[in-house]
């Protein structure tokens, strides 16, 4: 080979190399640092798992098992729902309940306890008959139990599990689940009974709007006229009915998955159940505060059935006037023997 021939061959090879380089596709910027995959063929398992997950499937597969969605091996929306519940719902629910509790605490520190107007009179008047108090406390006991077990199920994985450990928490979680499912239907019975007893007294009446505009007199010292139940109590009553029915019905959908409801309905029921329960718990904090720490003399209406006359006159003046019918003859001296005397028959007994 002559030198000229050798140079021509080198040039030809260089030209060919240059053309090949020009024709070769440029690597994508994002892939510059990624190592090249040694496998140039697709993962043979990907087709299998794509089929199992049915990501591309129009409908479900077939199965010998007969039931709702038994043809679906892996529910895609389940993972999305799980992420939503864990990452969004639980945190916000906890913040909301904590915020309401904090606001109540601040309100108490600013406003303090509302005393009985003009102090205790020494005479008491009957407000709630035994059956009403029995139903109220039945509802309250069931609610507190359901709230505690429900909060354990909702927050336990993040709050109790790190403290107690997996073994102890699994016991508590199992007990909470069984107890929650067992007592849930009883709560529905309790609120229906409360509805029967108290719905008529909680219908809107004259003075409700005025009471609302004045904020019930809780801010400031102005007295706002009210009947047996004031507007705030009426709002709470209907909230209990609405939220109670919501948590009960959604709870029944979850506890009895035998009526053809699929995963989407169950997921929706769980979210509705959770939102209603969190609102219910937050509202109950306000109810408990007003009934115990916030207002002097209120709790005894539900423990003894009697309230002080001045409490009745100060907070429920229209009911007081109706109950006493213009006189104090149906009020009794506040002595220890009062509870053993024949009960007073006020309008509460006729309900």
């Amino acid at each position: 080979m002559s030198f000229i021939t050798f140079r021509a061959a080198v040039w030809q090879f260089a030209t060919l190399l240059f053309v090949i380089c020009l024709l070769a596709p440029l690597p994508a910027p994002a892939q510059e640092s990624a190592p090249a995959s040694p496998i140039l063929v697709p993962n043979p398992g990907s087709d299998l798992w794509r089929a199992v997950r049915q990501r591309d499937a129009i409908g479900a597969g077939t199965s010998q098992a007969r039931g709702v969605e038994t043809g679906v091996l892996i529910e895609q929306s389940g993972e999305e729902f799980r992420n939503y519940r864990r990452n969004d719902f639980i945190g916000n629910a906890g913040l909301f309940i904590a915020a309401v509790a904090g606001l109540i605490l601040i309100f108490y520190m600013v406003r303090g306890r509302i005393p009985i107007p003009d102090g205790r009179s020494g005479k008491r008047i009957r407000r709630f008959p035994d059956i009403d108090r029995t139903l109220h406390w039945l509802t309250a006991i069931l609610f507190i139990f359901l709230a505690l077990t429900g909060l354990t199920l909702l927050f336990g994985r993040f709050v109790a599990l790190p403290v107690l450990g997996a073994e102890a928490f699994s016991v508590i979680a199992s007990a909470s689940k069984e107890g929650h499912n067992l007592f849930g239907p009883l709560f529905l019975v309790a609120i229906v009974a409360l509805f029967v007893r108290w719905a008529a007294r909680n219908l809107p009446s004259r003075g409700d709007l005025k009471w609302l505009i004045k904020g019930g007199g809780i801010i400031g010292n102005a007295h706002v006229s009210a009947g047996f139940f004031n507007t705030g109590e009426k709002i709470w009553f209907w909230s209990v009915m609405l939220l109670g029915l919501t948590v009960s019905i959604s709870g029944l959908v979850l506890v009895f998955p035998v009526f053809g409801q699929g995963r989407e309905i169950m997921q929706l029921a769980l979210i509705v159940h959770g939102i209603a329960a969190v609102l219910f718990i937050a509202g109950s904090l306000g109810h408990i505060y007003i009934g115990t720490l916030g207002t002097e003399g209120s709790l005894e209406s539900m423990t003894t059935g009697y309230v002080d006359e001045n409490w009745a006159r100060g907070h429920h003046d229209r009911w007081y006037a109706e109950a006493t019918q213009g006189g104090a003859e149906s009020a009794v001296p506040d002595q220890s023997t009062v509870a053993r005397q024949a009960p007073l028959h006020t309008s509460a007994d006729k309900a």
Partner: protein, 214 residues
């Protein structure tokens, strides 16, 4: 000895022995107490009166119905529910077969177990609350009544919490509380479980001999 071994072993035998001996002792004591001889001519059969009142007392008097319907309904819910749970719940039948009798009987289905539990709890809660809320029942109730009610409630509650039958601590807790109940039973008003036919019979015979319609 672990707590589980203690509850399943010595404490179980001790509480069961106290229960059996205590109940027998009280029943024998009551039945051998006797009564003053009645020399008057009977106007009617004392035996018929004893049997009659035992049956009639299962039904509320109509003239009292409006005032006692809560106690009657709640009482039946609780007592019938507790009886069904005690003798027809699958875990209890397993226990009787394995630990006591050597044989069992058909259990009620799961849905019936849940329904009966709900009704029994509703009845028990209403009865406890009525005892606390009504001035008369509150006045005649003593500490023993509340202890008995609370123990039964806790035994039922822990039993239902252990419904999954997957966690040993829940079963042991239920068993431990049931043993406490067995220990307390003979010395409390819970003895009415066994004494009610005799007390009713005594009153029925007493009235029956005098021709009193009850």
């Amino acid at each position: 000895m672990s707590f589980t071994e203690f509850v399943d072993g010595p404490f179980w035998y001790f509480s069961a022995a106290v229960f059996v001996i205590g109940v027998v002792w009280r029943l024998v004591g009551m039945l051998t107490m006797g009564s003053k001889p009645d020399y008057s001519l009977p106007r009617a059969s004392g035996t018929a009166g004893a049997i009659g009142i035992n049956i009639k007392r299962f039904f509320p008097r109509t003239d009292f119905w409006s005032r006692i319907k809560l106690q009657v309904i709640a009482g039946y819910l609780f007592h019938v529910g507790l009886f069904a749970l005690l003798f027809f719940a699958a875990p209890h039948i397993d226990f009787y077969r394995e630990r006591l009798l050597g044989f069992g009987w058909p259990a009620m289905p799961e849905w019936a177990f849940i329904l009966v539990s709900e009704l029994a709890f509703l009845g028990l809660l209403l009865l406890i609350l009525h005892r606390m809320m009504n001035p008369v029942t509150r006045a005649i109730s003593n500490r023993g009544d509340y202890i008995g009610s609370a123990l039964i409630f806790l035994v039922m509650l822990t039993g239902c919490l252990a419904l999954a039958r997957a966690y040993e601590p829940l079963r042991v807790l239920h068993f431990f509380l049931a043993e406490l109940l067995l220990l307390y039973f003979p010395f409390s008003a819970l003895m009415h479980t066994f004494t009610f036919p005799f007390s009713r019979g005594f009153m029925g015979a007493h009235y029956g001999r005098r021709g009193v319609r009850v």
